[in-house]
């Protein structure tokens, strides 16, 4: 029996979750390269769907389930889960002013901390006190900024059309990236904005994140991506929704670090 026939035989067991992990991995690898088996799996899944529908007596859920779901959705932050490189890291899309203001606060606090450091005699006590203040301020700030019904606006030059704008921050210590964009044009289905980082060493762009903006044209990306070097440039391009390995030029937004 050829490899292909072996896999075809395993598809029904795969469908029912019967394959042990090693056989499952091996089949999934085969599915990645064999269109015939993929089609067969899709047809079997179609049978699975119809069998599920055929075997289930149509029962409406209790009315409270609808209210429960809608309440849960209302509690969800305005998140758009997007494709990202490093699995397991969550990143969020919020209103831009959240991160912009948060960054301003952080800068302010760091400046304050530096002042405190100059006071060597009170260094430890001042830092401890500062941390308490930071925590308190951050909590209050986030509570206001993420409150349901909070109003977020962008200010532009009077009379001028708002232009796409973004700000990126990279922390070399832990690879933390905060990217905030506004005035982005909505994209048709199948397309997404893609954030790239061009590292200082070989200059080959690294795909940092793929994202779609909110209906207000705003997006925030927060993630960790250890570059092992400093970034030379950030850029945003428009790409297929599932991402691409190379940027499509010209970039919509680009900026040397520190600009």
């Amino acid at each position: 029996m050829t490899g292909h026939e072996t896999f075809a035989d395993e598809l029904t067991r795969y469908l029912l979750g019967e394959l042990p992990p090693d056989e499952r991995r091996s089949l999934e690898q085969h599915l990645g390269s064999c269109g015939e088996c993929r089609n067969e799996l899709e047809r079997l899944r179609a049978g699975e769907a119809l069998l599920t529908l055929a075997g289930s007596e149509a029962v409406a859920p209790p009315p409270r389930a609808r209210a429960r779901l809608l309440a849960a959705i209302a509690r969800e932050p305005r998140l758009a889960v997007v494709h990202e490189g490093s699995r397991g890291r969550a990143w969020w899309i919020w209103a831009p002013s959240v991160a912009t203001l948060a960054l301003a606060i952080v800068v302010g606090l760091l400046w304050q901390e530096n002042s405190d450091l100059r006071e060597k005699a009170q260094k430890l006590a001042a830092m401890e006190m500062q941390q308490e203040v930071d925590t308190h301020n951050t909590k209050e700030l986030l509570a206001d900024l993420t409150a349901k019904g909070a109003i977020h606006v962008n200010l532009n030059e009077s009379g001028a059309d708002p232009q796409p704008h973004a700000r990126a921050t990279y922390n070399p210590k832990d690879g933390g990236i905060v990217f905030v964009a506004s005035n982005l044009t909505p994209l048709p289905d199948g397309q997404a904005y893609q954030l790239w980082i061009v590292p200082m060493n070989d200059g080959k762009p690294i795909r940092a994140a793929s994202f779609r903006p909110t209906s207000r044209g705003t997006a925030v990306v927060m993630k960790h991506d250890n570059l092992r070097t400093s970034p030379k440039m950030f850029a945003v391009t428009i790409e297929p929704e599932h991402g691409t390995g190379e940027p499509t030029y010209p970039a919509l937004l680009s900026s040397p670090i520190g600009e």
């Binding site: 035989d9 029904t12 067991r13 469908l15 029912l16 979750g17 019967e18 993929r38 089609n39 799996l41 899709e42 047809r43 079997l44 899944r45 179609a46 049978g47 699975e48 769907a49 119809l50 069998l51 599920t52 529908l53 055929a54 075997g55 289930s56 007596e57 149509a58 029962v59 409406a60 859920p61 209790p62 389930a65 609808r66 429960r68 779901l69 809608l70 849960a72 959705i73 209302a74 969800e76 305005r78 998140l79 758009a80 889960v81 289905d189 779609r212 909110t214 209906s215 929704e241």
Partner: protein
Amino acid sequence: MENKISRESRAVTPDAELLQRIRRGDEGAMAELYDRFSAVVFSAALRVLGEASQAEDVLQEVFLQLWRNPSAFDSNRGSLAAWLAVIARHRAIDHLRRRRPETDVEDVVLAVDPELDGQAARAEAIGRIRAVMETMSDEQRSALEMAFFEGLTHTEIADKTGEPLGTIKTRIRSALIAIRKALAS
């Protein structure tokens, strides 16, 4: 029947449009989609779990997941009702066996005619499946139902029925292939 399907599709907002609005965070679109498919999801979960409160948990989980990641379903590839039924059954079996989800929703791709979102076409396809089930022996139908709706492994079914494992595997495999062929005809 074609006229009937056309009337249905004209009368309601297409699923793809609702999903697009959900991508933009439109809670109203989510409520509409829920009204359209909650019975499909709840029924599938209830069939597996047999207990309404647990089926309700699966219902919440499936729709919340769709809200968080509406792109997981590719509306160009088939029927949303069929896709939701598959996801609901998988999640219900995960609940039954108290295990972490084994199937990534983005991996579930179906070769189902999108027209099956019309109730008439869906009812017709379901009728064909039930007709195939009627042709099966009691043993084969029972093995299929144990695997499919009770979440039993082939080994557990063999233990329960006293039949050889190979026989159980063959019965279930040939049942699923018969169903796949009935859809293709």
